[in-house]
Amino acid sequence: MNNEEPDIFALYELMFYSRRFEEMVQELWDKGKIFGEMHMSLGEEAINAGVISHLVEGDAIALDHRGTSPLIMRGINPKKLLLELLGHPNGLCRGNGGHMHLFSKEHLVASSGIVGASGPAAVGFALASKYKKKQNIAIAFFGEGAANQSMMLSSLNLASAWNLPVLFVCKDNDVSITTPSKEVTGGNLTERAKSFGINGIELNGLDVEFVWQKCASIIDNMRKTMSPFFIVAKCIHKEGHLLGDSILRAQRSTIKESIERTGPLLKSLTRLKGASILKRGASIAKIMSLITKIGDQLKKRNDPLVLAKNKLKKNNEKLELIESKVNNQIETLIFDVMKTIEGDE
């Protein structure tokens, strides 16, 4: 597999399908058809596609709170998935699980809303694979914030000490909710993996071709040696932490709203007792820069789909064909799903 070239059109199709699917989810969420929290994979499609398209039957995936796109790419029935997000009894998990608790036994895919839990989960999948003398690997998807979770750290140790085929895929968007991960992370993540005896590399997770190529040889090698590997791949989250992200709302807000938001801020700036005014200024500056920084990241040039598309422009015709095919699929899907739902009402 090492020398194979990526089928970048196929990768683009995966990414585009995932993007369109999630945009549809976003719309349904906006319309109030989906309740509760909703974390999107918008912006990390290149990592998901670049990793997942190497998987074969029997490989397992442990997901965090951003499971929609990986599930789609792994081939879970999109209608069932969408129905699940809508809390429908015909959903993937009969409406019991919902978007942070998505499971597919036949695909060996498990999710958890507990940050860091995908580490031990992937270790367990890999243990079963090795025990059964299969050549299957297990993927742990998680964020750079989760990389500090205690059980994630010791799952590195387990994978190394037991020499298990776990591919740790850290999707690094620099931030966990609103915390710049650098500020709460000692040292360096790939160094950490190495110090546990696990080989690791940093990747540009926005470039699907690159991710695919690197993973081709990594995964190929993992199947041979049945040993772990660690990837940190940079990415962005176009919709911030979750749909309705308050920092993005602040960033996008009109002047009226931003006065409403800064009102209380100014109040705490001028309250009598507490830290010095200088310190308070520093705190405000920190928050403001956070807002700007998160906003900045989301510029178009960081969008993995835009990047991939630029590469494909030479064959515009094929590109358009793919896009319109996917658009059709999505339209059919939403039509179908809506019919199912209305059928109940």
């Binding site: 409406g95 809303g113 909710i177 309250r271």
Partner: protein, 337 residues
């Protein structure tokens, strides 16, 4: 009288106490934005954002408290407390006893809890009765802004660990960030008086373990906490039309439990229904029945609790969580028996 939201009330007390006592610090994930006002007012030395490692930072907070600080630690959702359970079960709760009662652990653990907005079973648990099983900690669950402020004051001033649980349906902050997110297309059954209402002009340290008789009545006692109290109030309105007079007790403290006032009420009414959003088995509802029996009270008993993992689907969720409708039905049934 002054009105405040549930969140504001808590923040206002913490702010006041942080001015009074330099040893109070706030710790937790994203507290620099979640508690933005405190962060700006007190700076990053006192409002400390943590990495995501609940076991380690809660464990650290226990010894920080032993060394003279008074940490208010946030575990975002109480569901995540499993990660930090050892720090509670074997450390926070036991240090004072182990040390021969010589060493205090003045620690407040703040967590959002509860369901009713479609987030699924790993994000909507209540767990208060579960936590209260552990000797050596207190568990408190306010149901309105006034209590929230007063009880936070009590919690901060206690010299032993307190778990302070805030129901998400009462909290603007959590509900806005987790469920509404700027959209106006969803609606949840938010008890308005629990979310925003009158507060005292001066916060007062409420007696530890004292329940609140929210409504006096003579026919039946309804016991609850948090959002459940409002469900009981709603049910009581409906039951009034059926000529049933409910007495409603808002426990506020799960642990220590106000046994004597529960006993007093049930001795009067002879009937009790416990309305508990936490899991039914081996929890609050059972404990209350045991206490009444141990005290030789004669009574009819019922309970409305969450019986299994909470489903994601809003429809299913509404079926499993306690509701005014369920309370009315159960009360009526009890009177028919």
């Amino acid at each position: 009288m002054k009105k405040m939201s549930f969140d504001q009330a808590i923040e206002s007390v913490i702010q006041q106490e942080m001015i009074n006592d330099k040893n109070i610090i706030v710790m937790g994930e994203d507290v620099h934005t979640i508690r933005l006002n405190l962060f700006i007012q007190f700076g990053k030395e006192r409002v400390i954002s943590t990495p995501i490692c609940e076991d380690a930072f809660l464990g650290a907070a226990v010894t920080a408290a032993m060394a003279g600080l008074r940490p208010i630690v946030e575990i975002m959702l109480v569901d995540f407390i499993g990660v930090a359970m050892d720090a509670i079960l074997n450390h926070a709760a036991k240090v004072n006893f182990f040390s021969g009662n010589k060493w205090d652990v003045p620690l407040v653990i703040r967590s959002a809890c509860g369901g009713g907005y479609g987030d699924g079973g790993q994000h909507e648990q209540s767990l208060w009765g579960w936590l209260a099983h552990i000797p050596g900690i207190s568990v408190v669950v306010p149901s309105n802004p006034s209590d929230a402020g007063n009880l936070m004051l009590s919690a901060i001033q206690m010299n032993s660990p307190v778990i302070f649980l805030e129901h998400k349906l009462l909290s603007d902050l959590w509900l806005d960030s987790m469920a509404y997110g700027g959209r106006t297309t969803v609606n949840f059954d938010v008890p308005s008086a629990g979310k925003y209402s009158e507060v005292p002009t001066k916060w007062e340290d409420l007696l530890v373990g004292q329940l609140n008789v929210v409504k006096e009545g003579i026919d039946i006692t309804l016991v609850s906490v948090g959002v459940g109290v409002h469900r009981c109030l709603e049910a009581a309105e409906i039951l009034k039309d059926k000529n049933i007079s409910c007495e409603i007790l808002d426990l506020r403290w799960i642990s220590p439990l106000d046994s004597s006032n529960i006993i007093r009420s049930v001795k009067k009414t002879g009937k009790i229904i416990v309305v508990d959003e936490d899991y039914k088995q081996f929890g609050l509802s059972g404990e209350i029945s045991a206490i009444l029996l141990e005290n030789h009270v004669n009574f009819k008993y019922g309970r409305i609790c969450t019986e299994g993992t909470i489903p994601f689907s809003r429809k299913l969720e509404d079926q499993v969580l306690p509701s005014a409708k369920k309370i009315v039905e159960k009360v009526v049934l009890m009177f028919e028996e």
